[in-house]
């Protein structure tokens, strides 16, 4: 008899194609698993609205469940509640650091748009520690990196550029 916790466990094998160290469950992309008469419905949510990895993630989920003998799988995409990096567990954040990506902090209450900061300064945002050497002497190079969810940082201590999973 197929149980939802089996499906959750199998989905741990589906990694995010752009952050292959984390599963779609760890990232919070999988929101719900429902089973009705052996037919599985997986509810997913995109990280960013335009995340180009979503199609591949959907295909990987279908493939992973198909390989376990699940014949009927339905995928549902929801936008609410909006995906947030706060759904990421501490264990997942440690995996990111070990992989060389600085993990996201906690989402602070965002100020109103009129609070757009005057200048980029060191106190602009919480300090992002270098995932390689742990130094906090880092600076933001670009708010946008190789994927929508990442920023480009630079470590002045070990002179390495590195990626940061943006707090979102």
């Amino acid at each position: 008899m197929l149980a939802a916790h089996d499906v959750w466990a199998w989905l741990e094998d589906v990694k995010d194609p752009e952050v292959p160290v984390l599963s779609v469950v760890e990232l919070g992309i999988v929101r719900d698993v429902r089973i009705d008469d052996g037919s599985v419905t997986v509810t997913i949510t995109p990280t960013y609205s335009g995340c180009p990895a979503m199609l591949e993630i959907e295909q990987e989920i279908m493939r992973a469940l198909g390989a376990r003998g699940v014949e009927s799988v339905r995928l549902e995409t929801v936008y609410a509640p909006a995906w947030t990096t706060d759904w990421m567990s501490d264990a997942a954040k440690q995996k990111l650091t070990a992989y060389g990506i600085a993990p996201p902090g906690r989402v602070a209450q965002e100020p109103n748009v009129v609070a757009i900061r005057s200048r980029r300064t060191k106190t602009d945002r919480s300090v992002v520690a270098c995932p390689y050497c742990g130094s906090q002497e880092t600076e933001l190079r670009s708010q946008y990196g190789s994927t929508a969810c990442k920023a480009i940082q630079f470590c002045r201590s070990c002179q390495q550029p590195f990626e940061e999973f943006k707090t979102f």
Binding site: Y48, S49, G50, A80, V113, I116, S142, Y144, A148
Partner: protein, 269 residues
């Protein structure tokens, strides 16, 4: 306006049917089309931006906006109930059927023009999405609440660039000021309250545009002043996009954006 985009009296069925039949559908199209068109304009920079980081940033902006447009157009298609998918709405409507504001369809211009337009839109977009997040239309509200988080990153980025360009070299200052002068007349359209907008406010679907304007202006005035730029006087206002009367630029952009889908309808890859 040229004859290939809008002809008075011609094809008014397609140009106005959405407005006449359902303000809800038209409104969601307006919100969606702003994003689709601006997203496409930004994607034109891919491989051409002045520095690699900015090439990537503009590409990411475009992804966010087109992704939002996709979700919104899907929703619009469901509201309309005629079986049109997000792809049908994006690729098989002509310019007269688009409901985006004129600001977003103008050619990308130089880098200052692109970033100035982006800032003027982003500062508006954060406020609009904040209002839409409380919409009586729960699907629209969910898409907006998500998009708002993205828009906050956008406006931070575009505002920062504005300060760098305005308070930069003589050349970058002059280009930023020119961009502001050229674009200013297109901003009032963001806040026009017509029958569609009034119906939307009445039904609790979206915020009143005039109420967004004061807050938008305060943000714009502050950032423009920090960028050592000067707001031009409110002399002219260009509008028409919201009812399908576009500049000649949109048709040309669509001929590029839609060519593949129209040459190979139903193609998948």
């Amino acid at each position: 306006m040229t004859s290939d985009t809008w002809v008075p009296g011609k094809r008014s069925d397609t140009a106005t049917s959405g407005i006449a039949s359902d303000p809800h559908f038209t409104y969601v199209l307006r919100v969606a089309d702003d994003r689709l068109v601006l997203g496409h304009r930004l994607s034109e920079w891919c491989g051409h931006a002045p520095i690699l980081e900015e090439d990537i940033a503009l590409g990411n902006f475009a992804l966010d906006l087109v992704g939002q447009a996709s979700a919104l157009l899907k929703h619009a298609g469901e509201i309309e109930g005629k079986g049109r998918s997000e792809d049908t709405l994006a690729y098989f409507r002509d310019a007269v059927e688009f409901r985006n504001c004129l600001l977003v369809e103008l050619p990308r211009g130089d880098f200052a023009m692109t970033l100035m337009r982006q800032f003027l839109f982003d500062a508006f977009d954060v406020l609009l999405l904040e209002g839409l997040a409380a919409s009586s239309d729960k699907t629209l509200g969910g898409i907006a609440a998500k998009a708002e988080k993205e828009a906050r990153y956008h406006v931070r980025h575009s505002a920062e660039w504005l300060r760098m360009l305005g308070d930069g070299t003589a050349e970058s200052h002059e280009r930023a000021q020119r961009a502001l002068n050229d674009l200013w007349m297109y901003t009032p359209e963001l806040f026009v309250a017509d029958d569609v907008e009034r119906a939307i406010v009445e039904r609790g679907i979206g915020p009143h545009p005039a109420e967004l304007r004061d807050r938008w202006l305060a943000t714009v005035q502050r950032v423009v002043s920090e960028a050592t730029l000067t707001l031009p006087p409110d002399e002219h206002a260009a509008s028409g996009g919201r009812i399908g009367r576009h500049t000649e630029h949109l048709g040309r952009m669509l001929s590029d954006m839609q060519s593949l889908a129209r040459a190979h309808p139903g193609a998948t890859w």
